[in-house]
Amino acid sequence: MMNLLLLFGEHPGWFFVVATLLPLLSFVLILLASALWCAGRAYRNTPGGAALFNLCGGEERGRTAAFVATGAIALAFVFSLVGCIRFSVQQHSFETAIKQHEKALHEFAQKLKEAKGEAKEELEAKAKSEKEKLEDQEKRWADARKTYWQGHFDWLRISPKGIADADSGTVLQLGFKIDSLSAIMFVMVTFIATLIHVFSIGYMSDELQPEVEDHQVHTAHGHLHRRGRFGRFFMYLSLFCFSMLNLVLADNLFQVFLSWELVGVCSYLLIGFYNERQSASNAANKAFITNRIGDAGFILGMLILWTHVGTFNMEELFQRVRAPLNDTHGAVEGVAGRIVRGNLDPNNTTKAGQRFTIANDGSDVLLFPHRPPEHYHAIVPRVAENPKPDQHGSMPYWMLVAAGLGIFLGCVGKSAQFPLQVWLPDAMEGPTPVSALIHAATMVAAGVYLVGRCYPLFTYDALLVIAYTGGITLFVAATIAVVMTDIKKVLAYSTVSQLGYMMLALGVGGWVAGLFHLVTHAFFKALLFLGSGSVIHGCHHEQEMTKMGGLFPKMKITALTMLAGVLAISGIPLFTGWYSKDAILAQAFGFIYVHPQHLLLFLLPLATAGITAFYMSRMWLMTFTGKPRDEHVHEHAHESPWPMTVPLIVLGICSVGIAWGWPLWDAEASFLEANVHHAQYPAVLADFGHIDYSLSEHHGEYWVAAKDEAQNERVFAYRNHHLAGNIAFVLVAIGIVFAGAIYWKRVLDPAEAKEQFPRLHAFLMDKWRFDRLYSAVFVRPCLIVGHWFAAFDLRAIDGVIHAVARSAMWVSKWDGLFDHHIIDGVVNLVGNTIYGVGARLRSVQTGFLRSYVLFLVLAAAGIFLALAYFVRMAMAG
């Protein structure tokens, strides 16, 4: 372990690069091996062929692929963990030093207020040296991050036409940048993915058989029989993990976009894994097409930024859009870290450019040079076409809003937010481990992660859109989950709902809360999905909860671990969900405190906390308690094998304790949250206020920078953390009690409730009619327009073509007749005439020598007579 810790010496960021590339390597290996396997299969009886065949896995290739993929991701986990530890250690040492200096500086400032005379001068000198030390320390930390934890190289250079200069043109880069958020995401993704790989070895074991019978596909000859696809499954999983890790690793939007699309492709391949099933193939298409809509927005956002800011590199983008904290004149007052709006004054121009007047409702946004942070003289250079990164510039405000909303639209698609949430529940057609991977670690996390990553690019308006989108999503999805009876669908809607929580948190300034919830949610959602997979596997692929019940005695491990997940997602104190969900609610509370007109942004998540507790308890109680609803299913139910239960137990433990800190009962003390906190952008603090925990030591005083206290959302969030949490807990308790009363104690009959509100029930069962709405608004019109085009094709275009064809036929018919009768007639006539003459002359050639002689004589006599006649005539004439 020590050797591993010291690996990559001066470039510890490579831990994460290697962790990213390992799954890619496994993907390529499996792909090549399968190709060679196919090639070697025909020659497996020759010695060389057999060696090749066995090298590529032989008859056990599926199992080999699984071990390669699992080994790669497990190794990636080890690398991520080592990298994360190294990063955290380094970060901790620097941040502690910086905090000490800050604290000392703060104390000097307090004392300075009272001090007089010489003592004051002495204090001022001390404060000055302390400040220098602080700045030095901050600079060293910034340098360390740059040299140790970042790197990039030029990948594609797009030179202007005709110029082959290696340094000109624009460059697309590949790079990595590690902060504590990406480090934690790495560990989370690789850890969960490893467990899912192990789980899949058990869950997908059916696919190991050379021939698999798919009971859900009916062909003319009964059920479909096909080859097992164990290896292919793990190959896709590897690619999926690589894509997600690369997305987390990326330091520029273009690289993010590449991984973004790869993630989309992998989800398409895995959702449609049972591609012979019509429903699976439809779901895969739906997921892919819905994501395309979001990706279109993402591309637009990227292009806007590229056009106006001139770079894809995220750090440079942020530095351009947000005002620097310090510049050559010292700390920036008032606007530090914020988006600066103003108006360009066309009448007030100087040699250097146009003057920029700052106004809160200005039509333009000031772009700052990313290096060095020169003092701003309110003059924007006149170069408008080619944005230069080392100069001040400006871009229209609405363009920045549009860029932010475009990027967010991409995240809406990936993270299944309203209105693009429809694909996620359908994605349940994929194998259950895939659902776990998509819902916990990879696909849907990508959207939330990117919103968090691109946070400095979002304007206040864009953030409000994000918050409301999240608010609507979390409520809609939770209400649908209440009526679902398919165990996986309940979990799918709960994922959509939880993602809504994260988006809402990000929108109201709870950057840490949202991303913290992303990490904790990943653990308990992976647990819940793998648990449901275990139930489904144990019940022989029965997913309907209406056929389950009373499974607790048969599947104790699954039931208990799932219970941990249910309690965690419900937000029961001391479980992981409690820490993160309370943080979100507190942030929402702080937000509405300052902006009471957005009251809905607190009420929706609050109500949904209760609903969540209700439907999750309902799911668990319906599955594991009460009387068996279907004797057949219950009789055959069994606990899953160890490769499935071990990941469950590990995830169960994580769901309970991954967010713990000291003291345990303090919702603010989470160690994980504190680590995520390190990565928080200064922009978040500038937009939503700042609390310095180092001075408060968790309890007591806080101080505020950049924002006025009366307008500080975070101050109110911090003050009311426990209040918001307690209200939510009451609702959660009510939800759980309610669920227990209905599904455990049977005090209330769910069927009666269903009859009481038939229209509401139908509305919810119909998923708020979104599918119908889209079908009516988009799919049907598309089909109708398609039919129109088809009809136009059939009638107009085909008509013209047919008419042309018919006239051509008519012309050629006449042409044919002319050919046949006139031209052929002449030729035949000549031939026939010659033939007839020949036939007649034939009789002359009798073959009798004597008759020839006769002719000869007669001819000679004739000639003689004719000559005599002519000579006579000539003599006479």
């Binding site: 034939r842 009798t846 073959g847 009798f848 020598l849 004597r850 004589v857």
Partner: protein, 105 residues
Amino acid sequence: MTFAVGLNHFLLLGAFLFVCGAVCMATKRNAIGILMGVELVLNAATINFVAYAHYNPIFQVEGQVFALFVIVLAAAEAAIALAIVLNFYNNHTTVDVDTAEELKG
């Protein structure tokens, strides 16, 4: 009345011989007979050449030379014709020219 033998008599004799030869060729079925007819026709021509050579001093040499040519030609022809006849006999065991009708159209 003196009966002087002149050119016309020789020409008449030649014509008579030619007709005899031609009739012989046309009527005989025996190949040898036909050859004989041919000889008669050739001799008719020879008589004409010789007669003209005698009565027309312009053709004195040419007429005799052609007569000699015809004799030589006749000899050669007879040799070839007899060879053909012999082969014909070998194939058909007859010299009847009416059986030789392979060239019938």
